[in-house]
Amino acid sequence: MALNKEEVAHIAKLARIRLNDAELAALSGELSHILTWVEELRELDTENVPPMTSVAAMRLPMREDIVTDGDCRDAILGNAPQTAKGFFAVPKVVE
């Protein structure tokens, strides 16, 4: 399985990672190499084999509907690169 630069650019867009042309070229080689390597899985017959959902052999635990967290704005905003008036702030988004 080979990935050309355009395909890598599309994936990088999905992953929100800016890549220059040289990086795209290098990555298309590296990623193709990795994908070719994992190709070998195809030879294995997995007909009717359920995918693993979790190795933890247990039921999903549930919480009670009680407020136990929140009300800690300073802690929530404390690490943010940019805030204003108690909000996180980001470059303007046009809907």
């Binding site: 979790s54 919480r63 509907d65 407020v67 967290d69 929140g70 303007k92 988004v93």
Partner: protein
């Protein structure tokens, strides 16, 4: 219904009668509108779906956010049992299949009000499968609309784009609140039906107490999938109109969008599948820029959670504990109280109204009870902008008022005065009647005096009586005036006839 609609039938429903559908007359002929709705209903709960932060509306920005909601490193989700219960109860209320095994998936996309970069939702295995919802159409008939599925998912935060010229502000108070996404089949055939569907769904949710249905506060939001086709032809390409927060806007948006698509096709163009926004100011829909770039959500099971396996006995217990829902209550009101279906529908639209009515009707004439509730009470509440929970008159007292009419203590006319006073003071009707001395006069002697006085005062009209019996009404008026309306009207009429006729 907007202008240009004419009633007609066509298209296929999932059950019951074929839909009463509004075809739109285009330049080149009739078009059928096909609508499916995705409703996001906020689960009524104290805490969020996967975190312990509060859900109350209107708090200061970012004060109801836990590190889990803000997707801090190493934070993990733990599901709120109550939200699961509410989803199951809603599914049961929609007559839907409950999936004892369901899975939470991650829906991956980047947006500032989605802190983890993914929304925990349910994709291929939702908690609730197919169900149905019954529409009560204006012509008195009903039609079943198919429910495709209901799944649990997290709400996103709130992005404010209008607070700063160069910045978008993000408030995560809403991020992580539990939502039920309720998806309908493309069974709706007009903006009107879409409105009926929404009102009915809202009524059911409020009966169940699983969502407060408050569209102003965003507890109930609607995405509309709209397409048009020639009657009988396969579905056309649909557009999704996102985040409509009032029934009116839903109907306006659908009307506009249907016409836009028809005009486009009739002009030789083609509808392209896209997400659009409704601009309520302009009354038009426009493409949503932020959604233009083709997205690929890369759903996969959330490895921080396990599949959700429900205990069948638990589900059955919830089924057994469901309250009586609008359709059943309406049917019962028709059967038990002999009310016309239209009245029964009005009285059962809200659980509180139905409860109020039943208290008033208990052991009394249900029609009289219905008239008082739908007439004088609703009138007064509307005038005061109150809803029934805040009614100043307790149902027992309205009932007592009706009793006073029934046992002849007061006349229907006096009752209106008493009711007005009750609205003012909340006093018991008996107390008002006594305080104001409004008891009906049924003492024959006193009334005979009043009658005699009235006849003596108007000899001319007495003379007219033989030729024109209508003057009886004039004398009834005179006697009632003389008795400040307290005279028993039946008695007054009898005595007048006897004396005039004699």
């Amino acid at each position: 219904m907007g202008p240009g609609f004419r009633r007609d039938s066509g298209g296929e429903g999932v059950g019951g009668r074929p839909p009463v559908s509004a075809l739109i007359e285009g330049r080149t002929g009739a078009w059928e509108v096909v609508i499916g709705l995705e409703v996001h209903a906020q689960v009524t709960a104290e805490a969020k779906l996967f975190s312990g932060a509060a859900t109350a509306f209107g708090a200061e920005p970012n004060t109801q956010v836990s590190p889990v909601d803000a997707a801090f490193p190493g934070m993990l989700p733990v599901i709120n049992r109550h939200c699961v219960e509410q989803a199951v109860r809603t599914g049961l209320g929609l007559g839907a299949r409950i999936n004892l095994h369901s899975v939470f998936d991650r829906k991956n996309y980047f947006y500032p009000d989605l802190p983890p970069g993914y929304q925990i939702s349910q994709y291929q295995q939702p908690i609730v499968g197919q169900g149905r919802l019954v529409l009560d159409l204006p012509d008195g008939t009903t039609r079943e609309i198919g429910i495709t599925r209901l799944h649990l998912e997290q709400d996103a935060g709130k992005s404010l784009h209008d607070q700063h010229p160069g910045l978008t502000y993000v408030d995560l108070n809403r991020a992580g609140i539990g939502l039920m996404e309720i998806v309908s089949e493309p069974d709706l055939r007009s903006a009107g039906e879409a409105g009926l569907y929404l009102r009915k769904l809202r009524s059911i949710l409020r009966y169940l107490g699983t969502c407060d249905g408050n569209m102003e506060e965003g507890s109930l939001r609607c995405d509309c999938n709209v397409s048009v086709r020639r009657p009988g032809e396969p579905y056309g390409t649909r557009c999704e109109i996102k985040n409509l927060n009032s029934v009116r806007f839903v109907m306006q948006a659908i009307d506009y969008e249907a016409r836009r698509q028809i005009a486009l096709i009739e002009a030789g163009g083609a509808v392209m599948q896209e997400t659009r926004l409704y601009d309520s100011g302009r009354g038009e829909t426009r493409p949503m820029r932020s959604k233009e770039e083709a997205h690929d959500y890369r759903y996969f099971p959330d490895p921080d959670l396990l599949p959700l396996d429900l205990d069948p006995e638990w589900v059955e217990r919830l089924r057994a504990e469901l309250p009586e829902l609008p359709d059943a209550k309406k049917a019962r009101f028709v059967a038990e109280f002999g009310l016309p279906p239209a009245d029964a529908e009005v009285l059962t639209a809200e659980r509180a109204t139905a409860g109020y009515f039943e208290k008033v009707a208990a052991g009394r004439d249900p029609k009289a009870a219905a008239n008082w509730v739908m007439g004088d009470l609703f009138g007064a509440l509307n005038a005061m902008g109150l809803d029934i929970e805040a009614a100043p008159v307790a149902p027992e007292r309205l009932g007592a008022l009706i009793d006073l009419i029934a046992d002849g203590t007061i006349s229907g006319r006096i009752a209106k005065t008493v009711f007005a006073e009750m609205i003012e003071t909340g006093e018991a009707p008996e107390a008002i009647v006594d305080r104001k001395g409004l008891r009906q006069m049924s003492d024959q002697g006193a009334i005979e005096k009043a009658v005699a006085a009235a006849l003596a005062a108007h000899p001319a009209q007495v003379a007219q009586y033989q030729s024109n019996p209508k003057v009886l009404g004039f004398f009834v008026g005179q006697v009632m005036k003389a008795t400040q309306g307290k005279a028993n009207p039946a008695l007054v009429n009898r005595l007048l006839r006897e004396t005039l006729g004699g």
